[in-house]
């Protein structure tokens, strides 16, 4: 307990360490939240499910919070459904037939136009298809006739594909602009107020039913926006955290601890064992890590665990073996090691309870500083298109953004958000790592 208190007192002297620890803590909370709020299977479904998962999201929408800084407020997506209470549904008998009138009302207070509008119909009938006709009523009372159509069981009406409606609207405007603009104002400006879409459906059979759903796609979406296939980027932003942290921590821990053990074994037994370890290390040092990983990814498997295993396997015999060995060789000659030998401690015991504890002060900062290296490595592989094919990760977001020309098209959020998270992760671990280095190795303090 006291040791902990002392440790925190030490670390409190380094504001950067506190900031770093706060960052790491937040990242961990973020990762835990991701895993708890979106379980793995759900995350995979949200990321790879298909149109019916993300069909209601706008395409390439910026995050909603960009409105806070924008002069022109962008609309958010509004979904109106016949099951909602705000939607009025009248049913009247017309001769043998039933007429259903659905009033979708929409309070529109934005300066910009929606991205797209679609009405999705679901209908039930045996022989004769229901017939719908739709009207657009603006806040200033103008009424616009839209198309009339016979409904299949599952049908949709896309406003911007309605050519006849287009022709009824002012020149040089898209359908959406035409519907939401004030008449005769140049440049086009939105008319704020309550709009109504009135759908009247004629049902020719007693058991017939019609349900409609109006989706007014906004220009902004959620906390992180969406990509070119309408996927919510937040899924990948959230799930990128646990994946990056797990990969970084496991790789850093695995490589550092294993290299340390190998170095200790080599230094303690010396002779042939040490020679073999040193030669393997020297050969391994000249093997390029990234190309080998690219080869594994291209030819064998891109599963993150395979890549993790390959990273650890290739990084065990790294330069840290040399560093640790140099320290071990020095410690090994200490009188207390000879004393331990003299009272019959076995080699295993000497390595694990005499040699290795002495190197912890060097190991821990190295381990913490090593985490971002592996986080970045995983992201780099993803950016190169060698990310895990299933998992949503930060690196994959950047890869998607790059392949869709996000920066060229002005979708900065798509690249910047995962990049900022990656940088913050690196920053947090580095700040803590460097402070730990100074605490554990006081001789560095003057440097």
């Amino acid at each position: 307990m006291n040791a902990f208190k002392r440790f925190f007192k030490d670390i409190a002297q380094y504001p950067s360490a506190i900031v770093g620890m706060v960052i790491i803590l937040l990242l961990i909370l973020f990762a835990v939240y991701a895993v708890v709020s979106i379980p793995y299977n759900e995350a995979i479904r949200l990321w790879r499910g298909g149109e019916n998962v993300w069909g209601d999201y706008p395409r390439n929408a910026a995050p909603a919070w960009t409105n806070l800084f924008a002069r022109v407020k962008q609309p958010e997506t509004v979904i109106l459904n016949t099951d909602d209470e705000t939607v009025k549904k009248e049913i009247q008998q017309v001769g043998n037939n039933t007429e259903v009138i659905i009033h979708f009302t929409l309070d529109y207070q934005y300066d910009a136009y929606p991205q797209e509008m679609i009405i999705f119909f679901e209908s039930k009938y045996a022989q004769k298809q229901p017939h719908v006709s739709m009207r657009w009523i603006t806040p200033d009372g103008r009424e616009l006739r839209m198309t009339q159509m016979s409904l299949r069981r599952s049908d949709q009406y896309r406003f911007d594909l309605d050519d006849r409606l287009r022709r009824r609207l002012p020149e040089n405007m898209t359908v959406i602009q035409g519907l939401f603009s004030q008449p005769d104002v140049v440049p086009p400006t939105t008319l704020k107020g309550t709009y109504e879409v009135r759908i009247s459906a004629l049902l020719f059979e007693p058991d017939s039913e019609v349900d409609a759903r109006l989706v007014i796609y906004g220009q902004v979406h959620g906390l992180a926006g969406t990509d070119h296939v309408r996927r919510d980027l937040m899924v990948a932003m959230l799930w990128g955290a646990p994946i990056a942290l797990a990969f970084g921590l496991l790789a850093a821990f695995g490589t550092n601890v294993l290299s340390m053990i190998i170095a200790a074994v080599g230094a303690w037994f010396g002779g042939v064992v040490d020679d073999i370890i040193q030669r393997i290390t020297e050969v391994n040092l000249v093997l390029p890590l990234l190309p080998i990983l690219i080869m594994i990814g291209t030819l064998y498997s891109r599963t993150i665990w395979i890549i993790l295993g390959a990273v650890i396997a290739l990084s065990i015999f790294s330069s840290s073996v040399k560093t640790y060995r140099a320290i071990f060789i020095q410690i090994k000659e200490a009188p207390y090691i000879e004393a331990a030998r003299s009272y019959g401690a076995s080699s295993v015991r000497i390595i694990f309870s005499y040699l290795i504890p002495r190197i912890i002060p060097v190991l821990i900062p190295g381990l913490v500083i090593g985490v971002p290296t592996y986080v970045f490595l995983e992201a780099s592989l993803a950016v190169l298109g060698l990310g895990d094919p299933v998992l949503p990760t930060w690196g994959k977001l950047i890869n998607d953004a790059q392949s869709q020309g996000a920066l060229f098209n002005g979708h900065y959020y798509w690249v910047l958000q995962p990049a900022v998270l990656l940088m913050v992760t690196g920053l947090g671990f580095s700040m803590v790592g460097f402070a730990l280095d100074r605490i554990f190795n006081p001789r560095l303090r003057g440097v």
Binding site: Y336, A339, S342, A345
Partner: protein
Amino acid sequence: MHDQKTLLRIEDLKLYFRATRGVVQAVDGVNLTLNPNEAMVIIGESGCGKSSMAKALLRLLPRNVQTYSGKVFLNGSELMGMTDEEYRQQIRWLKISMVPQAAMNSLNPVLRVGDQVAEPMIVHHGARKEEALLQASNMFQRVGVPVDFLSRYAFELSGGMRQRAAIAMALVTAPDLVILDEPTSALDVLTQANIMNLLKRIKKEIATSFILITHDIATSSELADRVGVMYAGQMVELSDAHRFFTAPLHPYSQKLMASVPKLRSTSEPEYITGQPPSLINPPTGCRFAARCHVRFAKCDQEPPMVQHPDGRQVKCWLYHSNGKE
């Protein structure tokens, strides 16, 4: 076959090291016997093979060993035939323990002293940690370290305390033989006296044998039952303590005794001219001959270990029946 009373018998123990300039004959044919509950002091100059002999006994050999031979009997059983692993498990610390040279630095800096002292119990008896710690605290009381020091680290202890802790660690498994390699060097005189008194008390209380390696002749005289003098890797005199300290036989021993400073005495401490011979190419004949004040022609031949009538042994032609002729 063996004298039941003998605890340790060393016959022709040799330990040679490989060095760049040749083979260092650090221990060259040492013979020695030790009885139970007996303290033998091994004295000699620096570099005469005292510590190497201790290491040879405990088989703590460096990598560059060239020759390691001879016979060591402990309680009648031969030790040199054992494999390293057998030796480690059966002998080290169970039968023979050691307070290493610079014992102050021989404590693991990352273990609490109590855990450290308990280590041999855990290593050898597979004791549970609590039992071992209990044993350690008993041993701490015996050597006069406050029990609450158990949970401290080595750097929090004074030199004398660390020395006591090291001694406690050597005694914790109740071995037959404890080798103390310069246990009082680097301590102040009062602490030296303290440690010596402690060793005397322990010897009385727990009937252990000691081999005390030192060049501090004055302090070691407190504890010694017998004295062995080593010179250039060889044992040149083996004697009981009383007769040795009053009248040593070997010329080297005489010079050594004369070099001990005496308080408020008019006589200046003497020293021996020259240096001990190189152990890489030791001279043929008597190794002390070059520095000897009573050398004569015969000294060109290697002297045998002469059995003196009163039971002492000395490796010098002076005492040989046909030595001076």
